[in-house]
């Protein structure tokens, strides 16, 4: 997240990558007076998933939001009118409005770095090597089927190109067991 903000010189409030802290569960008193608990907490790092069926591209009135032949969804600043309609619709909050330029901005997989044979900034910077980048089919082979967990939406909505290795206490999509506890960072 910090590498992304730094590398792209993003203004305050614009975060192409965000980390949601999803927590929940409760303590339940047993008949013998002891307590049991199902408290959970895990992190989900999300940026644009360059969906196969990107709703932002579909709703954009100017065609500024587009998907190129490599499958990367990005904004053409020479066309964007700054209506923020893509922001309303994207279930991952990927398009972010830049007040200074009056246009939408978003993760473009660090296109310039890819062209130079480098990996995206977030992938290189993650100290836990928790983020990977590659062809979607290759990632599915490596990490298994594209499982999604709460607080992400159903995959069927936009068919995101995202594969997640769920943590052991992950909640299913649509679960109301927990909530995002760092909304100000989203």
């Amino acid at each position: 997240m910090v590498a992304c903000i730094d590398g792209h010189d993003l203004p305050q409030g614009v975060m192409w990558r965000r980390v949601a802290e999803y927590t929940g569960g409760k303590w339940v008193r047993r008949a013998n007076g002891t307590y049991d608990q199902n408290v959970f907490s895990y992190y989900t790092s999300v940026s644009c998933n360059h969906c196969q069926n990107p709703v932002c591209v579909k709703v954009c009135p100017t065609t500024a939001m587009h998907k190129d032949e490599q499958g990367i969804v990005s904004v053409d600043p020479d066309k964007c009118v700054g209506c923020r309609y893509c922001e309303w619709n994207c279930p991952y909050s990927a398009p972010q409005y830049n007040k200074q330029s009056g246009r939408m901005t978003k993760c473009d997989f660090c296109k310039d770095r890819l062209a130079a044979g480098l990996k995206p900034l977030c992938v290189e910077a993650c100290p836990m090597r928790a983020i990977h980048f590659g062809e979607y089919e290759d990632l599915k082979k490596q990490f298994g089927d594209a499982v999604h967990v709460a607080p992400l939406p159903e995959q069927s909505v936009t068919s995101p190109c995202l594969v997640i290795t769920p943590p052991h206490n992950a909640q299913p999509v649509g679960s109301n067991m927990g909530s995002i506890r760092n909304p100000e960072e989203m």
């Binding site: 954009c60 009135p61 100017t62 009118v81 939408m104 159903e154």
Partner: protein
């Protein structure tokens, strides 16, 4: 989505809906009336509708981050409902302009009536397209027919009550036959609102996404209630004014103006609540 970001959209949508309502109610007020003064009055209201529409379009630019790129918004009419809405705005603007120009010609009564019907139908199509901008599966609070019925309700309430005020301000008094359409349109607006709210509230109150939600679900029901109360009181006042007018006691602005103001207040508040009830699937 931020709180202040919604104000231009509140006024843009309401002014467009009022302009459409003014044309449609004006057509009904006119009927087959040969009264020249009444025809002139409705003609002036058509000009007012065009001006109001122009103001709405100007306000819509405030919402844009880069207004100079506005011409590009017509590039995606094939897929984007927002692009279609902007196309329909252009079409409606042309229809209103045609209506006003036809009205300036002498002996153009038939042409003017046709132009009013065309502009009215164009307006209803515009409101449908406008509702589809919000009726999207990723925004569950708005993802149903309540948006279209709510927009139609605003059109009826604002158009009907506006003509009520105009008729009550006529020096020669309001023709009794013209009072019915004003009242019928506002009552229709209230009925549409009654249809819309039960459709909207369960979806808008569902706790879909606390990150994107601006208005706590608990506030939504009473906020819509206040909106309905203001509009209901406005229609009751207009009904009282119409009843007095039909009894020959005069159709007084003392009742029609407060009725209009109550309806406008209710609509502005209701539309603000509508935008604040935004919530999105996912994060």
């Amino acid at each position: 989505m931020e709180y202040l970001q919604e104000f231009p959209l509140v006024f843009f949508t309401l002014l467009v809906q009022m302009a459409v309502g003014m044309v449609l109610v004006g057509k009904c007020v006119l009927g087959n009336e040969a009264d020249r003064a009444l025809r002139e009055g409705v003609r002036r209201q058509n000009v007012a509708a065009l001006l109001l529409f122009a103001v709405a379009v100007i306000i819509s630019f405030v919402h844009l981050g880069t207004p100079l790129h506005a011409p590009f918004t017509l590039l995606h009419v094939t897929q984007s409902w927002l692009s279609r809405e902007i196309f329909m705005i252009g079409l409606m603007g042309l229809a209103l302009l045609w209506l006003v120009l036809v009205g300036r010609k002498k002996h153009a009564v038939d042409g003017e009536k046709k132009a009013m019907i065309v502009a009215g139908l164009c307006g209803i199509a515009l409101l449908f397209v406008m509702s589809c901008v919000y009726n999207q599966s990723t925004m569950p609070g708005w993802s149903n027919w309540s948006v279209f019925t709510a927009f139609l309700a605003s059109m009826c309430l604002l158009g009907g009550s506006w003509h009520g005020v105009v008729l009550s301000l006529r020096k020669e008094g309001a023709p009794v036959r013209a009072l019915g359409p004003c009242l019928v349109w506002t009552v229709l607006g209230l009925v549409l609102m009654a249809v819309s709210l039960p459709l909207a509230m369960p979806e808008q109150s569902a706790f879909v996404n606390p990150v994107s939600r601006l208005l706590p679900p608990a506030c939504i029901a009473w906020s819509h209630g206040l909106h309905a109360l203001a509009s209901g009181l406005g229609v009751v006042l207009l009904a009282l004014a119409a009843a007095r007018g039909m009894q020959g006691k005069g159709f007084r602005p003392a009742l029609t103006v407060p009725a209009f103001l109550l309806i406008v207040l209710g609509e502005v508040f209701g539309r603000l609540v509508f935008y604040l009830s935004y919530s999105r699937l996912g994060m």
